[in-house]
Amino acid sequence: MRDQIIATTSDRPVGLVRKALKLRRTKIGLSILIGVGLMAIVGPFFAPHTQTEFIDMPNSLNIPGALFGTDYLGQDVWSRFLIGGRSILLLSLGATTLGLIAGISLGLLAALSKGKIDELIMRIFDVILSFPQILLALLLVSMFDASPWLTILSVGLSTTPRVGRVIRGAALSVVERDFVNAAIALGESRFRILFFEVLPNVTGPLLVEANLRFTYSIATIASLAFLGFAPDPSAANWGTMIQENSTVIVIQPWGAVLPVIAIAVLTIGTGLFGDGLARVSAGIDRGKESVEQ
């Protein structure tokens, strides 16, 4: 049974996800992801008020028509909550995608090239890895005006070496195999070898890493908003909401409680889903769940 699990590493991504979905944690994680994701994407259409509309006295509860009262500026907490997930989710997806594309390309290139190019790429990764993710993002927003693109770029940039290292590690054993040597001997282009010969053989670790990076992107982007560096500081955003309303938490808790729950649930969802993937992909810690089911 255990051998079977380890042997799934080279499976196609769809097969891997299907196998992972036999685990309870993966099911729970995916349901949460879909639920919160759906709410964040379509939520804005159901918001009774606009995100910056003044509806009543600030920080009040028990207002007819406002389920969770008003926030510190007298805006509707429920509307802002429904609207405030979308940008975090989309920016995180964007940053993760950018980091994956760059990380995969550089990681594969390093593994295939070996020697000087490999060494150079790894040292550049080391330099970027010397910055905690949030620090690199803060450095960029400190001198350039915050915008969605800058957020995606800065978080994507700090994601790149983390993805790249994992992909390189996984690809190192693949590039030694005969079919890669055959492809080289046949004179296939380097691009073809990297993306059509090597990449399909590292999808297991790649999926796990992608999910992990998505979780951290959500955390970093929400944290940036919490620190006051959202692309649009007046727009509804779960991170911004927590920062704005945490000082009045005693009189009007909902403005902070709702986004706290949403972010926590979302990241737990991605965490559970990723752990399920990791177990199936590598049999990572070979716990009971992965062996029995």
Binding site: S142, I242, S246
Partner: protein, 319 residues
């Protein structure tokens, strides 16, 4: 001595990395923005004040000179002056370094032994109740961002539910953090909750692997007591990979405290960084970024060396 050669090589690499880090910081903050003075002062400003700031920043010098002057200044202990407070950076930062160090050290002293114990015990009790509960809990805790965790703690301990601990720290940058013990409980608690899951998960995985290894089985077969097997054979080898994670998390404590310090209004380097980014206080941003990244590089170096020194397998295989 192969070990000395290894350490020297690793040190050299650290210095090169640090140089590249400082170059990256300089490029991002001073060279790439078409005009840092404009970025700092914003759009509504006069040509005179722009010119004055450019003079002060030395932006009229060639970029290479700007970079080398900055780096040489730092090597001589001259960190420059803050724009906003006009204070020497060293004066502004010194008390805050102490405060952050206090959070970091206490956080590490609590979380490292705790997570090593939890991880090792989980591995010994693999798939039993303790392991299931601790693994699931750490998986969930690891996923939640610190500021969300911290806000949840404030909700639990400082507001409606239990009103026992203050939600923010009320100490000045100059005062010692331990002068307000109840004010530092929640920040430290948040850090411990942020670090412990990672370290304990790594410890568990590493210990599980070691316990299945041939030499642990060999030691058992030789009839050694379980205690000796665990403490003399299993633990030292299991700790190797854990050092890496501990070091990374300590480094995280240096940089990641920016969130926790902001949340609890704690006067450390993290909140100083957030303040200086908001005020676009270029010299302070550059210095703090270099310092935090420097801690990261140093921690990684210490981890690499400690791993080799602590792991009997690696120590003997050094060439």
């Amino acid at each position: 001595m192969p070990i000395i050669k290894f350490i020297t090589r690793r040190l050299g690499l650290g210095v090169v990395t640090l140089f590249a880090v400082s170059l990256l910081i300089f490029l991002v903050t001073q060279a790439f923005p078409s005009d840092p003075a404009q970025a700092i002062l914003g759009r509504e400003t006069t040509p005179e004040s722009l010119d004055a700031l450019r003079q002060e920043l030395g932006l009229y010098r060639p970029a290479v000179t700007q970079f080398s002057d900055w780096l040489i200044g730092i090597l001589h202990g001259d960190f420059g002056k803050s724009f906003v407070t006009q204070m020497q950076i060293s004066e502004y930062i010194a008390p805050r370094v102490g405060n952050s160090l206090f959070l970091m050290v206490v956080g590490a002293l609590l979380s490292v032994p705790l997570s090593v114990a939890i991880g090792a015990f989980s591995a010994l009790r693999r798939d039993r109740r303790f392991d299931t509960i601790s693994s699931t809990t750490s998986l969930i805790l690891a996923a939640i961002p610190e500021f969300v965790m911290g806000t949840a703690l404030i909700l639990f301990f400082s507001t409606s539910i239990f009103h026992v601990l203050p939600a923010i720290t009320l100490i000045d940058a100059g005062a010692a953090p331990w002068s307000d013990p109840s004010g530092v409980v929640l920040p430290i608690f948040t850090l411990v909750l942020a670090v412990t899951p990672y370290v304990s998960r790594t410890m568990r995985a590493s210990m599980v692997e070691i316990l299945e290894s041939d030499y642990v089985e060999m030691a058992r077969l030789k009839g050694m007591s379980e205690r000796v097997v665990l403490i003399r054979h299993a633990l030292p080898n299991a700790l190797g990979p854990v050092f890496q994670v501990i070091a990374l998390n300590l480094a995280y404590l240096a940089g990641g405290t920016v969130i926790v310090e902001r949340l609890f209004n704690y006067p450390g380097i993290g909140s100083a960084l957030a303040d200086s980014v908001r005020a676009r206080d270029l010299p302070v941003i550059q210095f703090l970024a270099l310092m935090i990244a420097g801690v990261y590089v140093l921690m990684n170096l210490v981890a690499d060396v400690a791993t080799v020194l602590a792991t009997p397998r690696l120590r003997t295989s050094l060439k």
